[in-house]
Amino acid sequence: ESERVTRAATMIFTDNDKNEIMPIIKVLEQNAEKLGAESLARMFALYPGSKVYFHFEDFSAAGPKVKKHGAKVIGAITKAAHHLDDLHGHLEGLAETHGKVLLVDPQNFPKLCQCIEVTLASHLTEFLPSTHCSIDKLLTVICQILSSRYR
């Protein structure tokens, strides 16, 4: 089925943003399972309602299913970071999956992003406001795109 869509740009990334983002992406790529599991565990601890989407026996960061899913989520984020010039196109499949199949309440996306940021702050030697800002821009626009195919 063909459909005319307008891709609205929701975020502008400067060269400075890219310089801030890419070292963090590298850390995420190299520790996807650990940082992903911890981010999810934070979300499950703060927002117990978010557990409804998963059938896990163990919702802690040590849980095998939490680790596996954490690695998947971080993997998708780091991959997306390498496609800033066409984020909409790159994430179209995932947006469809979330919007039509998984039907995750999109209010959960910013909550997980906040937990990712707290995880980064608790592991990195430095997480300056300028870095935090650029990462927040990336995560915010990913949340927006993932929320875009529900209706």
């Binding site: 911890e38 934070r42 601890a45 703060l46 702050a121 406001p129 927040d136």
Partner: protein, 156 residues
């Protein structure tokens, strides 16, 4: 059938029930011990500066304040948080005047308060590192939710 939910009478008086915030001994201990171990002014200043960087629209509230500094304002903020830590069972009453001030004088959007408290959480995470486990994080998220609720209470 007795209800434990608070409700308002028609003239707006809230009938007190046993719906109070419940703190476990573990939560109280975490909040009071961590709060006493950190440099309040430094953490407060960093949280404000982080908020101004990551959420620049918040600078608008402070742009007309003569002689404003993040440090000067941080002292006020952490003073209020200190009160909250010392009165965990009674934050709403402690924050009544502060809430009125934010609502009626300062006109801060109550939907924005979490932006500053989220930055406090980021600073605590950065300070405490691996001690800031998901469990500890949840305790502090609860504390700051109580604070935000209290400071939002007098808005109509």
């Amino acid at each position: 059938c007795r209800s434990t939910q608070p409700f308002c009478t028609r003239d707006g008086r809230e009938i007190l029930t046993d719906k109070m915030v419940h703190w476990t001994p573990e939560e109280r201990s975490e909040i009071t011990s961590t709060w006493s171990a950190i440099n309040h002014k430094a953490v407060g200043t960093k949280a404000l500066e982080r908020m101004f960087s990551v959420y620049p629209w918040t600078t608008r509230y402070f742009s007309t304040i003569h002689g404003f500094t993040a440090e000067g304002h941080a002292i006020k903020v952490v003073g209020a948080l200190d009160k909250a830590v010392k009165h965990l069972d009674d934050v709403k009453t402690q924050f009544k005047d502060l809430s009125k001030k934010h609502a009626e004088e300062l006109h801060i959007d109550p939907g924005s308060f979490h932006l500053l408290t989220d930055c406090f959480i980021m600073e605590l995470a950065h300070l405490e590192k691996c001690k800031f486990t998901p469990h500890t994080h949840a305790t502090w998220a609860k504390f700051f939710k109580v604070v935000v609720d209290a400071i939002s209470k007098q808005y109509h």
